[in-house]
């Protein structure tokens, strides 16, 4: 999961931009050649490219970015308005929480880019008088090292992935929450609480969950897919796309063998690797960004994707089928915590309470494209999108979260993964 939302938009902007350039026959304004060179060397990642693009063709880039942004959220936005009009009542209560002592202070919010709709951020400032200083990171690990350097200070609220929060708490960089300060705390869906990273539910507030699911186009795939094992079917030859997350993909093979994602038994990981090699002929593509675009354009017939990608794909093409693999699902949670020496913890509580509100929570998940972790928000989510944003009752019976494992096991996973990728290149 992680930065999907953000990256998707970045690449969408890039694609649009390149279209512009192709259509306009290279009428691009001049850029500093060193910028381009810097992009070439540093920029395997699309983010860097987006920056370079923004620098080189400022005006058109800005236009394209906003265009892309508006298309991705268009569907969500239209749904949001209907949900919002149905429920004006619940928002009134929250204004009571505006604490005059906090007015004029600043909330230092540290998370990925694009985690909240602008309305929510603006609304919070309007209602509480607290300015938001939105600082973003690309990777969880960046956040961890910044937080370590700041020794738990500098930021008031951090939203990140489960596995890194486990480390943050272990290093004593988070403070225990006083849930009495959160009036909307009861709105949280208990299914997402007391997970491995915060077993006693002392430090975190979940904000969105992601599962890796199979999504396929029935018209492009000759078989019915019900689980991971079906992906090995020869009918899918050269027609399958995967995200590039080695723990998730190796985990697929582990699940087919009936093992845990988090096994540290090198022999079992190796066996999963052997199983994975048999999948190679079916692989057309492995990538993290914009995988759903390849499904929509017909480059691939089936894919294993992140929640936000599945969400955008199905919103675009409702004919696509989403499968919760029968072998069990892996899921991850994003959660907010208050760093141990947060300069303005009061503002963090105010913001957490603000987004835990049912109607506003629904707006957030529609925007985010991740599964709702707010039970009260569920009724505000448009009926047509309920399946995509609310996990079915009892999903957590057959699920497992991917956790940190030993260095040796990680190295073995990496070896298996590289062998697998090399094998896919022999197609």
């Amino acid at each position: 999961m992680k930065t999907q939302k953000k990256r998707n938009r970045g690449t969408a902007a890039l694609l649009l931009l390149s279209l512009f350039l192709v259509a306009g026959c290279g009428g691009a304004p001049a850029a500093d050649p060193t910028t381009a060179a810097a992009a070439t060397t540093a920029a395997a990642t699309t983010e860097a490219a987006t920056e370079a693009a923004a620098e080189s063709t400022t005006s058109s880039a800005a236009a394209a970015t906003s265009a892309a942004a508006s298309t991705t959220t268009a569907a969500a936005a239209s749904a949001t308005t209907t949900a919002a009009t149905e429920a004006p009542a619940s928002t009134a209560a929250a204004s009571a929480l505006a604490d005059p002592a906090l007015t004029g202070t600043q909330l230092n919010l540290y998370t990925w880019e694009g985690m909240f709709p602008q309305d929510i951020l603006d609304g919070f400032t309007a209602e509480t008088g607290i300015r938001i200083n939105y600082v973003n990171f690309d990777y969880d690990e960046t956040m961890l090292s910044k937080l370590e350097t700041a020794q738990g200070g500098d930021y008031d609220l951090v939203i990140a992935d489960d596995y890194i929060i486990e480390t943050v708490i272990a290093e004593g960089l988070a403070q225990k929450l006083d849930t009495a300060k959160l009036k909307n705390y009861a709105n949280i869906d208990p299914a997402y609480q007391k997970q491995f990273y915060d077993p006693n539910d002392e430090y975190t507030v979940p904000y969105g969950a992601g599962v890796q699911t199979i999504v396929y186009d029935p018209s492009a795939v000759g078989i019915e897919i019900t689980g991971y094992a079906d992906l090995w079917d020869p009918a899918l030859a050269n027609n399958l796309g995967l995200i590039g997350n080695f723990r998730v993909i190796n985990g697929m093979a582990l699940k087919v063998l009936g093992e845990s994602y988090n096994t540290e038994d090198l022999g079992i990981i190796r066996a999963a690797g052997q199983k994975l090699l048999e999948l190679a002929p079916n692989i057309r593509l492995i990538k993290d960004d914009q995988l759903e675009a390849d499904l929509l354009s017909g480059e691939i017939g089936a894919g294993v994707m992140y929640t936000s990608q599945v969400f955008s794909a199905v919103v675009e093409n409702p004919e696509l089928r989403v499968v919760f693999p029968k072998e069990g699902i892996g899921f991850g949670v994003m959660a907010g915590f208050i760093p141990s020496k947060a300069p303005n913890a009061g503002a963090a509580y105010a913001f957490l309470d603000y987004i835990l509100d049912a109607a506003r929570g629904a707006d957030c998940f529609l925007y985010l494209g991740y599964y709702s972790t707010n039970r009260a928000a569920n009724e505000f989510i448009d009926v047509s999108l309920k399946d995509l944003l609310i996990l079915p009752e009892g999903f957590n019976v057959n699920m497992e979260m991917i956790q940190n494992i030993s260095d040796e096991a990680t190295a073995e996973h990496d070896l298996v993964w590289t062998e697998f990728k090399t094998a896919t290149g022999q197609n």
Binding site: L17, A36, N245, D414
Partner: protein, 287 residues
């Protein structure tokens, strides 16, 4: 005598910033990387400073060796194709009238005004199902259904050649431009057929340009892994891909450092062999 010493001191002061810069931004990072490559990873993101050869031994795994081989193969294939396409281009460009030479040069430079990644996305538009190339083939009646052209090895090679061919053209051009046409005419006067005059006179005299073109193509092609990622759908695993993955996904910095050290050693080795083989101390266009 005294003046001499003084001017030496002035000269030293003048180059000092460059020395410091090199020390801080070239030697420093290299030394850091070398030291890192002998350390052990620890925890989610960190490293532990105790000496180990594990990282280098780990590269001996067949799958990682295969990755080096894959990178070399792609680099050689790219360099060969770039030479085949770039040499005639550069050579004949130097034969044009100055006005057309300039126009050609501008056309070669214009693509660099856009980010190379955006140009790669352009290639995706060309290669994808029902994309430009697919439509052209179907229109010409050569195929009757959309092909799977994107995310294949040939697509990667096309992207690599496209990205690197300008460097060969510039190098050959700068050599061919200096070529004295009188020599070719003399060879022709003395009875050499056109092809013979080219092979014995023009080609040897433009070899320095080809040489620097080879270096300028080969070295980057060992590192341009993002082309393989984007046009090859991540299926063509190169050393660069591996390093990036070790850094960003596996979080094994020491192993990434060891891979980088070996990659750099390998590239330096090729450069050394090349210099030995050609006895060329300098590279045209590079110095």
């Amino acid at each position: 005598m005294r003046r001499d010493r003084r001017s030496r001191r002035v000269a030293l002061l003048a180059v000092l910033p460059m020395y410091l810069f090199t020390l801080a931004f070239v030697i420093g990072p290299l030394a850091y990387m070398l030291v890192l490559s002998f350390m052990r990873r620890s925890g989610a993101w960190g490293v532990e400073a105790d000496f180990t050869l594990r990282n280098y031994l780990h590269i001996g795994e067949p799958v990682f060796l295969a990755t080096f081989w894959q990178s070399l193969r792609l680099a050689f294939a790219t360099t060969a194709l770039v030479t085949l396409i770039g040499y005639p281009f550069g050579y004949f460009m130097a034969r044009l009238t100055p006005k057309w030479r300039n126009r050609c040069m501008i056309l070669l430079i214009v693509p660099f005004w856009t980010s190379s990644l955006m140009r790669l996305y352009g290639w995706m538009i060309v290669f994808r199902a029902n994309g430009a190339l697919d439509r052209l083939l179907m229109w010409a009646g050569l195929t009757d259904r959309p092909l799977k052209l994107l995310y294949t090895y040939p697509a990667v090679v096309v992207g690599m050649v496209y990205a690197l061919v300008p460097f060969m053209i510039y190098s050959v051009y700068s050599s061919a431009e200096k070529l004295d046409m009188g020599l070719l005419e003399a060879a022709r006067d003395l009875g050499a057929p056109r092809s013979h005059a080219f092979l014995t006179v023009a080609l040897p005299l433009t070899m320095p340009g080809v040489g620097s073109g080879l270096v300028l193509t080969f070295i980057p092609s060992m590192g341009l892994y993002f082309i393989a990622d984007i046009l090859g759908g991540n299926k063509v695993v190169l050393v660069g891909t591996l390093i990036q993955e070790q850094l960003m996904k596996v979080h094994d910095w020491p192993f990434a450092a060891a891979l980088s050290v070996v990659l750099m050693a390998l590239t330096s080795l090729f450069l050394f062999v090349y210099r030995r083989a050609t006895h060329s101390g300098e590279l045209e266009g590079l110095v």
